[in-house]
């Protein structure tokens, strides 16, 4: 799933990102555009941020995914 992760901090081409309370460090090497703290990115292939997502779209996706995950049996069918 394309789960937008919020950037908490940036350092030397890496970002600490957060999603649903879980933090991880991801590489920004594959991104074409600059990002800043507070931006949202989609993470794939383990630990690479693949694309930046506009905040409104990210929040909309997160709200949707939160509903899915909160539904009975939502974590797994």
């Amino acid at each position: 799933m394309a789960i937008p992760s919020r950037i908490l901090s940036l350092e030397n081409g890496f970002a600490t990102v957060e999603c649903f309370g879980v933090e991880r460090v991801v590489s920004l090497m594959l991104l074409d555009e600059a990002v800043a703290v507070g931006d949202y990115v989609i993470v794939q292939s383990g630990s690479f941020a693949m694309e930046k997502v506009e905040k409104a779209a990210a929040l909309d996706s997160l709200a949707y995914l939160e509903t899915v995950l909160a539904a009975p049996g939502g974590g797994a069918a």
């Binding site: 090497m29 594959l30 899915v68 797994a76």
Partner: protein, 372 residues
């Protein structure tokens, strides 16, 4: 390969006895319930929603949804639109399989990911939908405004081919290096098993042969009661490039490399066809059932929509990972009885990597129960 808990994960648990894998269990926390939240929404919104909510195979997910909506509405789609969609699906195969090869295969060899090549590949292909559809309406049921800049498109395809041929397919590319590693470790046949390839499906097959309303079936699908193989090896099992490669690690690797080369050729052929502005059909809602089946990088993806008055009454998605990581699927059958070697978790991880799930996975080993 780790990931966020929210995106789901495959937990692969192996047991070794007498030097062989004696038990294999796959527990999936993949969020398969996502389509259930489409219920009550306007069917016309679902393709764009799929394109946004799925990170892996997002073009295929979006286009399958568009096709399901169109079929439910009885909407005919113009030839140019269909050609553009085939081009996007093949481009995604190159992007996805090439990206995995560049980022993940080096790790299997104890080397660093080739992020520079992956970035170049993404730069060539990732925004093809917008290149073909300048209004970014490529997931509109009936088709969007198709107006590609063909010179730019062909340049993008040349760039993608250059990256893949140099970094993946060439004699010193990661594909050849991984093949050499398998040969050196005597692992070429590891993971081989007999598993029938999913046959082509007719409209009647997908309407009647799949239990679309059964969550247990969606999580562990069968065809005529049996687990099946899907993906590059299933599609190419009779291709000359795979002769003698078997269904183990070498066969899986060679199938993925062959698929990449074929997809690059398909892209050139599709870009040479008529992709000019083609009138988009107008979606008017209504009632109906629509099923779409598309071949993605990982295998067969199927969507089914029940639409009432233009709204989603039921939506189901059957994805390739559930075929491959089925309790009797390619991973489990490939491991059971196979020699575990000095590092069973690494061996199991190698097979999982080449079978290529669409979510992160983790391999753990549990001790065998002692005999009575």
């Amino acid at each position: 390969m780790s990931g966020f808990p929210a995106e789901g994960r495959l937990e692969i648990t192996v047991t070794v006895a007498d030097g062989h894998f004696s038990a294999v269990r796959v527990d999936s926390s993949r969020t398969l319930a996502l389509p259930s939240l489409f219920r009550g929404r306007a069917a016309a919104e679902v393709p764009a929603l799929c394109g946004r909510l799925y990170a892996v195979c997002r073009m295929a997910q979006g286009l399958a949804a568009a096709q399901a909506v169109e079929r439910a509405a009885g909407l005919a789609v113009a030839a140019g639109q269909q050609a553009a969609r085939r081009l996007l699906l093949r481009a995604e195969t190159v992007l996805d399989q090439g990206g995995r090869a560049l980022l993940e295969w080096p790790l299997l060899l104890g080397q660093g990911a080739d992020a520079a090549a992956c970035k170049a590949l993404r730069g060539a292909l990732a925004d093809l939908p917008r290149l073909l559809y300048p209004d970014n309406d490529w997931l509109r049921p009936g088709g969007g405004r198709l107006a590609p800049d063909l010179a730019v498109l062909r340049d993008r395809l040349r760039r993608a081919r250059a990256v893949v041929e140099t970094a993946v397919l060439a004699g010193q590319g990661v594909g050849a290096r991984l093949a050499a590693h398998l040969r050196a470790e005597d692992m070429e046949g590891f993971g081989a098993c007999f598993l029938p390839a999913l046959p082509s499906w007719s409209d009647l097959d997908v309407a009647q042969g799949l239990a679309w309303h059964d969550p247990a079936f969606i999580a562990a699908p069968t065809w005529r009661g049996l687990a099946h193989r899907t993906g590059a090896l299933a599609r190419l099992e009779r291709h000359p490039a795979l002769a003698g490669a078997g269904s183990g690690l070498l066969g899986l690797l060679r199938a993925r490399l062959t698929e990449l080369a074929l997809a690059l050729d398909d892209l050139d052929a599709l870009a040479a066809r008529r992709l000019e502005a083609d009138p988009a059909a107008a979606f008017t809602g209504g009632d109906g059932v629509g099923i779409a089946v598309v071949e993605t990088a990982r295998g067969r993806l199927a969507h089914r929509l029940e639409m009432a008055d233009g709204l989603v009454r039921h939506y189901a998605i059957l994805a390739p990972t559930e075929w491959t990581f089925h309790p009797e699927g390619a991973l489990v059958k490939g491991l059971l009885g196979a020699p575990a070697g000095p590092d069973p978790m690494a061996r199991a991880g190698l097979l999982a990597a080449l079978l290529d799930p669409c979510v992160p996975y983790r391999v753990t080993e549990t001790p065998a129960m002692s005999g009575a």
